[in-house]
């Protein structure tokens, strides 16, 4: 049964986790995501689950590693500085091929930075924030509804590919209240967890590890992980398009800024400009082909980010020489969130330059 609710994005993500069957949560307080541990500390005990407020972000990610190694669905959440601390554990989980969901309601940096909406952790999230050259799927919700839906999707991806999965949002998405239709978890066929430790009984020993010292072992492991990333690129890209069919300028941005860009695109259309919006929902795998097609039709792409230019690099790699790429960024900080009018002005300037 679906329920209609009015909740914060952070609460929606926590609800999505519970609906996805997550019964183990390990976290540490940090703004602006603390609604997630607060919600789960209330809900999980009654569901026969476990909530632990860990001694640190490092403790929390390693508890996630341990719970996940038993085959259980488990989650942690944090915000940028805390996510930096978790990178060691994320790398170990990627190496040992352990599923798990990590929510990053990011803030602005570097260092202690601030708590404002920011997209300065794009590189850290999608390029493998820890050591060792791995990737993890990264999902970028832009609404309360997607915080719920994509959290459930994240658990499925994690189990499907045996990988940690990150949900990347910011305070706009996490703190905003919107209507949520809390649908039941979608049914998806998932592989059995024949690798999970359980106490061997009379059966064969199972070992969850990321150390491979035998001749050629680690190289083969890395190629296998690489092959997995290639499958993700083929099958798991998600993107959303708005008014792109006849567009001569494609605006692209993810997460919070895509909402502002959406309004700006609507305003531009009202002025008669043929402008569309392309929104990557998966940041890894990046929806290269869909973007390349839209960009080739339009001839020009305007990348908007809440940083000094990160996703723009993946946009350039995706579109190649097929389209011109322009960038508009607002680095994070109080008062730096652009208004729709500000983006409309940027669209006007770029639209003039795009006439063919």
């Amino acid at each position: 049964m679906s329920k209609r609710l009015f909740v914060k994005g952070n609460e929606a993500a926590a609800m999505g986790a519970v609906e996805a069957g997550c019964r183990y949560y390990f976290g540490y307080p940090i703004t602006p995501q603390s609604d997630i541990p607060e919600y789960l500390s209330r809900e999980l005990p009654g569901l026969n689950g476990e909530f632990i407020q860990a001694e640190s972000e490092i403790g929390a990610i390693n508890m996630l590693l341990g719970a996940s190694a038993t085959g259980a669905r488990a989650m942690t959440s944090s915000s940028s500085p805390g996510i930096s601390l978790k990178q060691e554990g994320i790398s170990y989980m990627a190496g040992a091929e352990l599923p798990g969901v990590i929510i990053n309601i990011s803030r602005s940096g570097p260092g202690l930075g601030g708590i404002d909406a920011s997209q300065s952790d794009y590189f850290q999230s999608v390029k493998g924030g820890g050591h060792g050259g791995y990737h993890i799927p990264v999902l970028a919700p832009n609404s309360v509804q997607e915080m719920y839906d994509l959290t459930m999707h994240a658990f499925d991806l994690a189990d499907l590919y045996r990988t940690p999965v990150m949900l990347l949002g910011d305070s706009v998405i996490g703190q905003m209240k919107e209507a949520l239709i809390a649908n039941p978890r979608p049914v998806r066929e998932l592989p059995a967890k024949g690798w999970a430790v359980r106490g061997k009984g009379g059966a064969e020993q199972r070992v969850v590890k990321s150390l491979f010292l035998g001749d050629g072992e680690l190289e083969a492991h890395n190629w296998r992980l690489h092959a997995k990333y290639q499958v993700m690129k083929e099958k798991e890209c998600i993107s959303e398009e708005y008014e792109t069919a006849d567009a001569r300028l494609i605006v692209t941005g993810f997460g919070s800024v895509s909402r502002i860009a959406h309004t700006a695109v609507t305003m531009a259309r009202a002025e008669g400009m043929k402008v569309g919006l392309f929104r990557p929902v998966t940041l890894f795998p990046f929806p290269e082909q869909a973007l390349a097609q839209a960009a080739a039709r339009a001839g020009k792409v305007l990348v908007v980010e809440l940083n000094t230019g990160q996703m723009v690099e993946d946009v350039r790699l995706s579109v190649g020489a097929a389209a011109q790429v322009a960038f508009y960024g607002r680095p994070p900080g109080a008062g730096s969130l652009p208004s729709p009018e500000e983006l409309l002005e940027v669209i006007r300037k770029n639209y003039e330059g795009s006439a063919r």
């Binding site: 476990e50 259980a72 488990a74 359980r198 969850v208």
Partner: protein
């Protein structure tokens, strides 16, 4: 003829990679003996740490999860909470547990996680080549304390078993050595008791084992063995420091 001695069932029939005179082999045997005694091999999940003990899964015939350096108690927490019917132990060295993993061990212990921690103290980093550990004795020369550990700059060696005993969540804390037949027999009894605490659901148990590292101490096995009694035990006294009965 009656067989009076055999390899514990929880131990694999393989050669170890440990150096001559290293005590890890003996300690592995004591851990396996305790698992056998309590009949928990089939439901045990071991948590390996980083250091010479990382190859745990090669020697124990049990399921194993490998933890990042120092994080074994947090990993063990996740395992035990998600699978409370399992028997969970960590096996950690002094650099792993008493330096980089201090936060994880203190808080897992303080929460009273129902796990057992085997702490091997050989006063040095073994795997990385004999650097100064938090347990290195004052005056002891290592590859990063070439003039000897200086108390005024490097601090004093940490007495983990005593530290653990101060925490409310710890049900059992003891220190043993395996440098003589007498000490091995005492260590066996303590290990069995510590594992029994978890088997009976009595809470967090901790066993510190003083251990020789001849290679990194620059000693032959006999001299290294003798150093335990001459230098380590006077600073790290043996015995059961805390033994709580089950909570009502």
């Amino acid at each position: 003829m009656q067989q009076v001695f055999q390899r514990p069932q929880s131990l694999k029939d393989v050669q170890t990679h440990f150096c001559p005179g290293c005590h890890h082999g003996t300690i592995h045997r004591l851990v396996a003996d305790a698992m056998d005694l309590h009949g928990v091999q089939d439901r045990t999940i071991g948590v390996a740490s980083v250091g010479c003990s990382v190859f745990l899964y090669g020697y124990f015939d049990i399921d194993v999860v490998e933890a990042p350096h120092g994080r074994a108690p947090a990993v063990a927490t996740g395992v035990k909470r998600a699978k409370p019917d399992s028997f969970v132990f960590t096996y950690q060295g002094d650099g792993d547990l008493a330096a980089i993993g201090t936060a994880e061990i203190i808080h897992a212990a303080n929460r009273g996680e129902d796990i057992t921690v085997v702490f091997v103290n050989n006063t040095t980093y073994g795997m990385t080549g004999g650097q100064m550990a938090p347990t290195t004795l004052v005056g002891q020369k290592t590859s990063t304390s070439p003039y000897g550990r200086d108390k005024s700059k490097d601090g004093s060696p940490i007495k983990m078993a005593e530290l653990m005993a101060q925490l409310g969540g710890v049900a059992y804390s003891a220190r043993v050595a395996v440098d003589s037949p007498k000490h091995v027999l005492e260590a066996k009894k303590v290990m069995r008791e510590a594992f029994g605490y978890q088997a009976q659901g009595k809470g967090f148990s901790f066993v510190e084992v003083l251990s020789a590292c001849p290679t990194n101490w620059g000693m032959n096995p006999l001299k290294a063995n003798a150093r335990i009694g001459e230098e380590m035990i006077p600073y790290f006294p043996l015995g059961v420091i805390k033994k709580e009965e089950a909570a009502d």
